[in-house]
Every structure is written in C-alpha cells, then in structure tokens.
C-alpha cells in the first residue's frame, strides 16, 4: 500500500469530501450538502466538479463505490453511494495530524486569533 503521507497536503475540497465520507457512505448530492455545511457554504460543488473529484479519488484508491447500503429509510435506490477506503482513512488521518502539528505552533495560533479579528 502506498505511503499515506505522499498524498499530503490535501486540497480543502478533498479534505472536506473525505471527512464527509468518513462519517457515513453518501451519494453525490449528499456529499455536496455535507461539504457545504462543513465549510459554512464556502465550498459549493456543482455536479461536474464533484464527479470529476470522485473519479480522481476512485483512481487514487482513496474512496470506493459502496456495495453496502445505509439505513433503509434514507436509502435512495437510484444512486451510487461512495465509501472511504482504508487508504483514504489513513490519508485523512495523516492530513489531520499535519494540520494539528501546524496549530500547535504558538505563532500560528497567535496569527489565527488575529485573523479572526
């Protein structure tokens, strides 16, 4: 299996998408809504961009098409659901660790406080 750190740093879009899939398997529109919610509306994905991202993450082996279905009441027959892979989880965790390291630096935290005004 490839080294998870070789995928870093992740683009915010990829990070948000993987984060959304870490919690549950989702279809395209579900990923869009989850990412939009998580980013406070800053990232709004249209189908073209979203599915190109899916195609790329599939190729990289970070996600997979799901054969399991979520709870029956929220299931939507027509849709293809996506799930995060083991490698995907490792990459996500590595990225989180990288960001946490960055934040443990005092000068970065001071800057962040300034940025929030």
């Amino acid at each position: 299996m490839p080294d998870a750190t070789s995928y870093l740093p992740l683009k915010p879009l990829v990070f948000h998408a993987l984060l959304a899939l870490k919690e549950q398997e989702l279809h395209g529109y579900g990923i869009k809504k989850s990412v939009a919610g998580r980013s406070g509306g800053a990232i709004d994905l249209e189908p073209g961009t979203l599915y190109r991202l899916m195609a790329r993450l599939l190729k990289q082996g970070l996600i997979d098409e799901s054969d399991r279905r979520p709870a029956p009441e929220s299931d939507d027959e027509r849709r293809r659901y996506y799930a995060i892979t083991k490698l995907g989880r490792q990459v996500l965790a590595a990225e989180a660790a990288r960001m946490a390291d960055l934040l443990s630096d005092d000068s970065v935290r001071a800057l962040a406080a300034e940025g929030r005004g």
Partner: protein
C-alpha cells in the same frame, strides 16, 4: 427543460466517463433544481448558469487528462483527441484559406455575442445577483399612501406602532436620508445623512466592519451623539484611516458626533447611499404628530411567514388605528393605509421591463447574426460539395463529415465569442458612460464568471446552431452527383437555395420586429421631449445651498443673507437676474400642502377638494426669470414682506381644481398645516403650470408662497436650504467658479450643491428613456445591416449559380432590364414575406413595451407602416449589386466557359 438540456450537454464528456457518472450527475442536478424551484426563478437561472459553466470548465479537463481518472480506457482516448485535433487543424486551414469569409463570419458573430454578453452582464449584475442583505427575499418596504399619492414615506409614529403591533414581521428598521452640512476641517460640504434606527442594521443583517453600530442607549432620546461612516465617505474624507473610530468627531449642522464605526463597502440602505448614519432616537409616548411623513421603513418577515400573511395582518391593524387615532391624523384603510412591497420589486421593479426588452432585442440580433453565418456556410457548403464528395469517395463516413463541419463552425463561433468579449467590454464602458441614473447597481456591473459562462454557452450554442444545417446538407450530398455536377449541385442546390431563402425570410421578420420596437420607442421619446415643461431652460443656471441655523438663527437673518447673496450674484458681469425657490422643477422635489378656501363648508360633503397641492416657495422675480407665464393678477413682489398682507399665487391646475368658473383673485384661503394662529392668505395671482416632478407626469395643483412670508416654524427649515436660479449668457464652466467664490466670500460654511444648468436637468429627466431608445435603435440598425447582408448574400449566391442560365437567356435575346427585374422581384418576394411575418409578430409582441412608452400606442400605425417599407427598400438596395452583375453577364463567355 433545463434538465433535458443538461443531459444533452453531458454528451460533451467522453463516452466512458458519461456512462459511469452521467446518470448520477443528471440526478444531482435534478435535486438541486428541485430545491431552487422552491426558492424562485432567479435561483433557478443562477443555478443553471453555474452548473453549465461548471460543465464547460470540467469537460476540457476530463478530455485533456483522462488518465488521472478512474474507468479511463487507456488506448481509445488518444485517437479521440487526435481526431478532435485533426478536425480543428482542418477547420483552421479551411478558414485561413478564405480569410474574407472567415472575417465576415467572425465579425458578425462577435457583434451578436458581444451585444448579448454586455446586456446579460447588466441583467446579471443588476438583477440576478442577490441584494447585499441577509436573506433579502424576506425583506419588505413599508409605505403609506394618500388619495393623490399612492406611494409615500411613513411617519415615525406609524413606524413605531407597526413595529410594536405586527406579529408577522420580526423587526422593522427606519431611516430618513436628509442633506446636512459637514463642517470642521477644510471647506463646508453638503452630504446625505441617514437618520437611522438601531433596528435597521439588524433588519438588514449588517454589522460595522470597524467599530460597531448604535447601542441601545444611543437609540433612546438623550443618548450620546454618535455617527457611523459609510465606507466611501470614510475613504474620501479620512483616507480609510481606521483610527478615526473612537478618536474623531464629525460636525454635522454644527453638532459634534463621535465616530463609532465604519460600515462595509457593499452596505447601503435600500435606494439610498448616505455618507454617514446618525441615530434617530424616539420615545413613542412623547410623539403626538402622526402627519410628518418622511421615513423609509424596511421590515423583515418572520421565518415561515409569507408576504401575503403580512399584508393580511395589516388589513386587521389599520381599522384599529383608524379608531384609535381618530382626530389626530388617523390611518384609513382606503385613503391613508400602510402597505408593503417586496424589497426586490422595489429595487428592480422600474428597470425590469427595460432590461428584459433589451435582452430580448439582443437575443434577436444574435439569432439574425447566426442565420447570416449559417447562410454563408450554406453557400460555401454548396461550393464545397465537390470537396465533400471526394472525401466521401476516399472513405470518410457521414459522421466524420458532420463532425468536421461542426468543428469548423464551433471554431468560427469560438473566434467570434472571443472577439465578442472585446465588443462586450466596449459596450459596457459605453453603458456606464451613458448611465441613465435610474439603474440600480450599474456601477458594480463587470465581466465576471457568470458572464463568461453565459458567453461560452451562447458561443457553443450559436456554433452548433449555425453549423448544423450546413453540416447536414454537406453530409447528405450524394458522392456521385457531387462529382458529376462539377460541384454546382443539382437537386441539393435547390434545397440549399430553399434553406437560404427560409433563413433570410426569418431574418427579415426579426428585423421588422426590432425596427417596429425601436420605432415605437423613438416616437415615444420624441413625444416626451416635445412636452413643454412650462418654463424656460436655456441660459438658466441653478444651485442649492444650505445655511446653518446656528449662524442665522432668526428668519430675518436668513432673509438678509439671501438678499445680500442675490445682490452680489446680480453684480456678476453676464448675469441678468437671480431668483430663489424651494425646489426647482425637474431638479428637486418640493413638499405638499393643503388649502381650504374661506367661506366654504369644510368636510368631504362640502365640495372642498381633499387633494394635496405642491407647495412651492419663491422670491420676487422668480416667474419672470423662469419664464413661467402670469395668467391673472400679479406676481410675487419685493413688497411682499413679513408684515405686509399675506399673499399666495396658484397655478392654473389649482385654479381649475378649486375655482372652476370663479375668479380666484382676491379669494382667501387657509393653509391646512400652518400654525393655528396663522392668518388666512389672499390669492393675488394665477401662473402657468410647470412639470415640477418630471415631463412624463402631469402638472399638479401648486401654490407659491413668498419666501419672506412663511410661518416661523416653516421658515426655519425651508429658508435653511433654498435653490438659487440665475439667468446668464455665460457657459456653466465660465460662471461656476465665480458663483462658488461669491458664496464662499459671504460665508465659507455654506456649501454649494448641485450646480448645473436647467438644460441639463431637462436632459437628465429623460435620460432613462434616451438610454433604452438609443440602445434599441442601435440594435435595430445592426439588425437592418445584418439582414441587408443576408439579402445580398442570397441574391449574389443565386446569381452566381444561375450565371449560365442567365447567359443563355441573354443570348436568346432577353433584355438586361428583364434580368435585373427578375432578380429584384425575387428579393421583393423575400422581403414581403419576411416583412409580413414580422408585422404579425410585432403586433403580438410589442405589448412588452407598454410600460416603457409615453402617450404613444405600442401599435402605432405610422411605425407599423413605415418600418416594413424601410425594410423592403433596404432589401431592394442590397440586391441591386447582384442584379447589376447579372445584367452584365456576357453570354458568349459564359457559354464558352462550359
């Protein structure tokens, strides 16, 4: 419809990609569309534009780097790309071989696309972008009305009561924008101040970008004097220095206000852009006066409450108020209600019809341009029959031929689209320069991503549209026939000709629609411009000024200031007269009053008209200087001073309304809103009507009070801010500095504002009409030129194809005149059919102009007759050259060439 279009556009993706993701993408778009439909049409349009732009961005990336994506078949894509590149190479080669053809086609498309992108960018920037307020769809304006004035600001008591009593709205904010004088560093300046309730910022969902907005203490009477600056004013007066917050004071009308905050750059209250915000503290229990109506109010509907619910609630509140305030200016559900208007309608209502008409017009222009290029391609396809035949014989499939032709037209369209962006940028610069003033947010319009997306979409659309017909035509070509006929085409030639003619007829029809539309607007504009404003505008220069009540506390001080000012201005060489007025016609609004004629019963049954009258204040010499005719009696004289008998003049409309059949001179009347102890006034003169509020609105009854005879309370506010008009033969540029110096010398704290000529005021009054008329005329002219080129093209083509036949006819003894006649006849037939269809279409379509015209029928007979005639003439002129060429055909040479 959108979904179907999207599904079709998904075919732009490679097949392997589409098969894997296409269905899911369409499903996702369907979900988003369903959500957007629940919000409104604007949301749907924005979503569609974004999604199409997103598609156009992603297709090339997928096609260029398929190897990074899953499910990509490794070998196939290379040949696909190669195919595409080969077609593009072929297209470029073919186009560069015929530079004239390519240039004409690109130019035509560039004009069409450029005009569309420019108008779309205006529509997008002005109407499609959300208003800069949180959840603007839940905001409503609160207005009141009077019998003769359907839309009026509300009073502070009405605002406070509505705020307390409404359950449908979450909160209401009020503001009143007034001109004030700012003194302090440098010269005094006139600025717009917004007296603002604290709640306004909450309602609009705005907070200060630096510092804060008003606190609760500052919003109650006796609170501190504090000010919040607009971003623009902060930049211009303080150079954007953040430290002014909390340290500097702003001196407004002599009172210092501490600066506590700066608003963000994109914030301004609806319909106003004040320089700064001052608190408007009120205590409901101390307010008795319900009749002073000068507050704009915005309410935010509670979540889940609809506009209709809020309206229905008002209908239950108003009767309550009618009872509660009986005797003290009660509200009345019929004559003096409060009413609501969605904020988006308020801001865009006036320009919406204009922008849609312009967008429709440029859409037609683009269709015309597309038809022209399709014509060119068809004619060329005809000549290229042989090339296609050979390629077919060498093994190119139908599909390959269509694909190649389509690639060619898309390459053409793309070149046109890129050139069109340049045209669009030029047009937008022109729009902004011509800004009629009435278009909200015009200055923010720019070529942004949505405009680029729109341009890309119409470029692709037109490319496919004008390429499709010729491509199919080329592919239908029978190899054998094409080779045998030496590329001249037999049956396919006739088909081409019919297609060409159909396109030209369509063009003619559209051109007639545009001609008629612009004709109606031109006639309306001329009618409006020929309206007599009721006064002279040439050689008149006007300005406004504001004097401080602190410097000139008494009425006599103010009058003395104006006397000195008039004296000094009259002394300027080249100035032949100076007069004062409260607000000059077509330049500024004046207030309303009511009059009650002495000796007549009061009350609705007593025959006293209950309407309000425009309330003008003027000095002696005003009527003479403005060229307003004196109809009866006398004008205002210098002797009409404070202790002389009180007089007023009325205009003819007022004489008609109050004294029909009677002589108004010598009649006495009470000014309805004057103090109780103020004596009745005597009418001493009747003057002509002036269009105070604009050329398009009819003159209203108006009264004129001498500026030296005002009740003291009125004098304080009215005399603080008068307009000065002077008559001079000097140009504005020559006299303006002298005027400023004169005022400055008298009192450096008095700012001069709105210095300009009355000619300018008259021109500004019709600026919006001029803007839309000019643009539509421009589009109609472009349409005419394009259709002339179309007619020329189809005739030239027909002559070229028939050279041999014409040669034979001439050899057999036909007169050249007959040949010319037959060519002109077929041009005439095309023009008549097209013109006829256009007439019918225009008859059905011009009703969209209804709200844009002034006293002209949108089905004006003259316009409907003249426009098709113009078109027929243009068509005949355009076919003269081909006809002449046909007549000049040399019989022997033609036959020998065979």
């Amino acid at each position: 419809m959108m979904l179907g279009l999207y599904r079709t556009l998904l075919y732009l993706y490679p097949g392997w990609y589409r098969r894997r993701f296409g269905r899911d993408m369409a499903e996702m778009f369907a979900d988003e569309l369903a959500v957007a439909k629940g919000i409104g049409i604007m949301k749907v349009i924005r979503l569609s534009l974004r999604t199409f732009a997103d598609l156009l961005v992603n297709v090339p990336i997928v096609r260029l780097h398929p190897d990074r994506l899953t499910a990509c078949p490794p070998v196939r894509q290379v040949s696909l790309m190669q195919n595409l590149f080969r077609d593009i190479r072929l297209a470029l080669r073919s186009l560069t071989k015929h530079p004239l053809f390519a240039a004409i086609a690109v130019l035509t498309i560039a004009l069409g696309i450029g005009a569309n992108s420019a108008i779309f960018s205006v529509v997008n920037g002005v109407m499609l972008k959300p208003l800069p307020y949180q959840e603007a769809s839940r905001l409503v304006m609160v207005w009141t009305a009077f019998p003769d004035n359907p839309k009026f600001p509300i009073s502070i008591a009405e605002y406070l009561d509505y705020r307390t009593e409404s359950d449908a709205v979450a909160n209401v904010g009020a503001y009143s924008v007034q001109p004030v004088t700012v003194t302090g560093s440098g010269t005094a300046e006139r600025r717009q101040a917004s007296y603002t309730s604290r709640s306004l910022f909450d309602v609009l969902g705005a907070s200060a970008s630096i510092g804060r907005t008003f606190s609760e203490d500052e919003d109650t009477p006796g609170g501190a004097d504090v000010a919040i600056l607009s971003h623009a004013y902060w930049q211009s007066r303080y150079g954007g220095e953040p430290s002014v917050v909390g340290t500097q004071t702003l001196i407004v009308d002599g009172t210092p206000y501490d600066i506590i905050g700066i608003m963000p750059a994109d914030f301004e209250p609806p319909m106003n852009a004040p320089a700064f915000y001052l608190p408007a503290p009120f205590d409901r229990s101390t307010i008795v006066n319900r009749s002073s109506h000068n507050w704009n109010a915005v309410a935010r509907l509670k979540p889940g409450t609809t506009f209709e619910v809020a309206e229905a609630e008002l209908r239950t509140i108003l009767p309550r108020w009618e009872e509660e305030f009986a005797g003290i200016h009660p509200n009345d559900p019929v004559n003096h209600p409060l009413w609501l208007m969605p904020l988006t309608d308020e801001v865009f209502g006036a320009v919406r019809p204009m922008l849609w008409v312009l967008l429709g017009a440029v859409g037609l222009v683009l269709l015309l341009a597309t038809a022209n290029v399709a014509n060119l391609l068809l004619a060329r396809g005809e000549l290229r029959g042989r090339e296609m035949g050979i390629r077919g014989a060498l093994g190119a499939g139908r599909r390959d031929l269509i694909q190649q032709m389509l690639t060619e037209s898309v390459v053409l369209a793309t070149a046109g689209g890129v050139a069109g962006l340049v045209v669009a940028a030029g047009l937008m610069t022109m729009f902004k320069a011509l800004d009629p003033g009435g278009v909200p947010r015009l200055e923010q319009v720019s070529l942004d991503w949505s405009v680029l997306g729109f341009t890309a979409a119409i470029t692709l659309g037109t490319g496919v549209l004008f390429g499709l017909l010729p491509a199919l035509q080329a592919a239908r070509n029978d190899v054998k026939a094409a080779l045998q006929e030496g590329g001249r085409g037999g049956s396919t030639g006739r088909q081409s000709k019919r297609a060409l003619q159909t396109l030209v007829v369509t063009q003619m029809a559209f051109a007639v629609v545009l001609l008629i539309g612009s004709g109606v607007l031109i006639k309306s504009f001329l009618t409006l411009q020929s309206v007599d404003p009721g006064f002279q505008t040439e050689h008149r220069v006007a300005f406004g000024l504001q004097i401080l009540n602190d410097t000139y506390p008494a009425e006599a001080d103010k009058v003395a200031f104006y006397d000195r000012l008039r004296e000094e201005l009259t002394a300027i060489p080249g100035v032949s007269g100076v007069a004062l007025a409260r607000g000059l016609p077509l330049r500024s609004r004046i207030g309303s009053e009511g009059i009650m004629v002495e000796g007549r019963p009061v009350g609705p049954d007593g025959g006293q008209p209950s309407q309000s009258v425009d309330f003008q204040v003027a000095s002696d010499n005003y009527f003479k200087l403005m060229g307003i005719p004196l109809v009866h009696g006398r004008a205002i004289e210098p002797t009409d001073v404070a202790d002389a008998p009180l007089v007023i003049l009325i205009n003819e409309a007022a004489a008609q309304a109050y004294f029909e059949g009677e002589n108004p001179i010598g009649q006495r009347a009470r000014l309805m809103f004057s103090p109780r102890d103020w004596p009745n006034v005597t009418i001493v003169g009747v003057v002509g009507d002036v269009h105070q509020r604009g050329l398009a609105s009819t003159a209203r009854p108006e009264i004129y009070l001498p500026h030296r005879q005002l009740p003291p309370g009125w004098a304080r506010s009215i005399l603080a801010s008068l307009n000065i008009v002077l008559r001079t033969d000097l140009p504005l540029g020559a006299i303006a500095p002298t005027i400023r110096q004169t005022v400055q010398r008298l009192d450096p704290n008095v700012p001069v504002s709105g210095l300009g000529t009355l000619d300018q005021a008259l021109a500004n009054n019709v600026a919006t009409e001029r803007f839309v008329t000019m643009l539509l005329t421009l589009f109609a002219a472009v349409a005419l030129v394009i259709s002339a080129v179309g007619v020329y093209g189809v005739m030239a083509f027909s002559v070229a194809r028939r050279t041999r036949e014409i040669g034979i006819r001439l050899a057999l003894g036909a007169e050249p005149g007959q040949v010319v006649g037959s060519i002109l006849k077929s041009a005439l037939t095309i023009a008549l059919i097209g013109g006829g269809i256009g007439l019918v279409t225009a008859f059905l379509a011009t009703s969209v102009l209804e709200s844009l015209v002034y006293q002209v029928s949108v089905r004006d007979a003259v316009v409907f007759i003249v426009s098709p005639i113009v078109l027929v003439l243009v068509a005949l002129v355009a076919s003269l050259v081909p006809a002449w060429r046909a007549a000049a055909v040399h019989p022997m040479e033609t036959l020998r060439a065979e």
